[in-house]
Symmetry: C2
Amino acid sequence: MNSTYQISKPVRLGMEVYDILLKKLMSLEIQPEERISVDKLARELGVSQTPIREALSQLEIQGLVLKVHLSGYRAASQLTRKQFDDLCELRLLLEPAAAAKAATLMSVGELDELSTLAARMEEPSPSDPRSAYNAFAQQDARFHAEIARASQNDLLREIVTQQRVHLHLFRLRFYARVTQDAIVEHAAILDAFRRRDPSGAATAMRAHIENAHARFKSVYED
Amino acid sequence: MNSTYQISKPVRLGMEVYDILLKKLMSLEIQPEERISVDKLARELGVSQTPIREALSQLEIQGLVLKVHLSGYRAASQLTRKQFDDLCELRLLLEPAAAAKAATLMSVGELDELSTLAARMEEPSPSDPRSAYNAFAQQDARFHAEIARASQNDLLREIVTQQRVHLHLFRLRFYARVTQDAIVEHAAILDAFRRRDPSGAATAMRAHIENAHARFKSVYED
DNA sequence: TCTCCCGATTTCCGATCCGATTTGATATCG
DNA sequence: CGATATCAAATCGGATCGGAAATCGGGAGA
């Protein structure tokens, strides 16, 4: 009834904990394989164990933490070579198709938004490589998420954004090299969108993913 | 130390509840949109609320139940036309590719197993259409799951099997029509596997999915 | 007859508690 | 000295409890 005053909405403590943990995991504040104690976290955050469990239960299904019965939770380990390849293969099945659909379905406004995102990624980055990567990663995630959304297939969008989290954690190890290459490849995708060229968009997206794959292949060869 | 006697392993009550709820949802014992009360279930199953919450939390992420804050859980509603189309589109991206990989990677043993599954689906079904569909659905799910597994991409397999649950719930409305058509299409897929023909397998899988889509399209037109 | 309001009941969310099991460090033995 | 047994502390899974919000039903008023 009252539009000016905020109605005090009850918070979902479990969700808050989820967000906090997700940030900690994404920023490596909680390292891979690190043990995560439920009651330690409960004391730390000043809440009871119940919402902690709820959050961890959700993170487990997303593959970000691993539960061992009667032993506790651990942050997931880094992607193995096999898992990384599987992820790339999956992306090659989904994202080029999403890009192709997006090329025809995307509105002018969405295209503008995407262009803005790409432009922002070209801006000179802070000298600190860590925060430079953080800025990049956030834009990059949105870039891909927007394309997935423009495909107008909600299921596709969900899966793409979901899997991207793992990719982020993987890249976090090598944030120095990633940014520059991605920028020119994003430009190619945008060009295809501007031309309303589905197969061109798919091809550009495919190249983008395959290059990313190739860039990190060396990592596993030692 | 003792290999003959089973070591009494502590059970994960939460998992048990999860399995029970999954069965109830898949068999429509819990109907779409039906409210699911945590402490009612707790009394019913003779356990506390804690494992119930854990199970429901997992089901929520799989999209099988829906949580409204401070209001409770509800079984998910039937797929809308849009969601159904999205699901089909996703399957067309994933399963033909999985079939193509499977055609080259599948071992002879796995191929035999798949043939057995397909053969079992051709057996005369019980006269009761309901249990006939149940038998069919179980084999059908395994058929697709085995193909996804043979693709040797764990991520792909997970997503395919995951999404299949929703398809099952959808089809449950119309179990009469489904079975017969699927059998001959499965045979076509198997033929391609026997010929070790990736693109043939992909094509057959694609046709299978598109036919399934077409068969149910009429449902939404009234 | 329909709508609105109000109270009782249901039910959820989060907190706390407890028995059972793992973990890890120390002590003991070969 | 290394491996195994032992024991204490940490921690999990599940049970129980209390406050708060939503739902449901009945009754009053238009």
